[in-house]
Symmetry: C2
């Protein structure tokens, strides 16, 4: 791509450095900003600057937060005896989006992966244990992706947490709602038969953690 302006080239490079944005898309975004008035670009960069400067890690759950303690942890209406362990903030947001969970979270910041050199010491596990030692937490839900690394992390966590007298659970696995049995993978379908649940007649089919 030939640029007749260095300023445009640098902005295109800046956008193209973001994941999933190629140089053609970057150019379209830059030309869009140039079509708007200056205030639009100022607003755009101000939002990013304010975020990058102001954002911090919640001192309790390591969620991204505007304040020292995040919105979730400081919400007294939520169930503080329930902690959901997630790999990252995106998973936390996915669970929040379901509107089905009213407990707290704990963001690990990754999962145990020997191949990528991530050990338990690199994750926020020590702070989770400190939280549990306060005795307020009754149950820990491990909402971690069902991959090999995820299962390893779940196994490691359960070994650490169970001696503390805390109930450990994982999110339910099985065939997706609306999914066709025919297209479910063998492992999921096989496990969903082995871990079948009594039919309750209502929509909620599994009350056990």
């Amino acid at each position: 791509m030939v640029f007749t302006s260095k300023l445009i080239e640098k902005s295109v490079d800046a956008f193209a450095s973001l994941p999933g944005i190629g140089r053609k898309t970057a150019l379209r975004l830059v030309l869009h900003l140039l079509k708007q008035d200056k205030a639009a670009t100022e607003q755009f960069t101000a939002a990013l600057t304010a975020m990058r400067e102001g954002i911090r890690s919640c001192q309790i759950c390591h969620n991204l937060s505007d304040t020292d303690t995040c919105q979730v942890c400081s919400d007294r209406r939520r169930d503080h005896s329930l902690v959901c362990v997630v790999e990252n903030v995106r998973d936390l947001m996915a669970i929040e989006d379901t509107n089905q969970y009213r407990g707290l979270y704990h963001v690990l910041g990754g999962i145990i992966s020997p191949i990528e050199g991530v050990g338990p010491g690199d994750l926020n596990i020590e702070t989770l244990i400190q939280r549990l030692q306060k005795g307020e937490v009754r149950e820990v839900i491990m909402a971690i992706s069902p991959t090999i690394e995820g299962e390893t992390t779940i196994y490691y966590l359960s070994k650490k947490l169970q001696p503390m007298g805390v109930r450990c659970s994982t999110i339910a696995r099985g065939v997706s709602f609306g999914g066709d049995l025919e297209y479910a993978d063998e492992l999921t379908l096989g496990r969903s038969i082995v871990t079948r649940v009594p039919y309750s007649g209502s929509g909620a089919d599994n009350e056990n953690g």
Copy 2:
């Protein structure tokens, strides 16, 4: 999408205000910036700010430029007797990318479109006529999209320019290189037969403007 941070929400909104970026993609971009160190975001916003502040319209051809006269117009090695009229900067860049054109440009800033209320007075036509009155320009190439609005603009321009003794040409139209005849649209294929060119044996098959 539920956000536990206002700062993140504002940044996601900022990204999502750009064309072709939805809120899920915006969130991915924001989380990417948060994973990098602060300098990455600073560099990103600085590039955009510098561009939006510094960019101007070339006083000769209306190309986007870092200086009062753009890189193309101030390049004395280019052919200043040839002016290519384009609709917008993106079309100019597309032609530059071909590396086949060594003349100058003139950016109209749109095309005549009665439906959208764009008349000849809204385009950079007056400045084009002033350029031609200096007598330096020998030929004007109208590289405008072959739509109804484009054809109208070409017709209007040719009526204005021909009395000035300037040669007017349009870019060649026909079946794309590498394109299958079977899939060419009827209008293009039909016109390409009517406006057939003598076979020259070499790659360059049409020397007439």
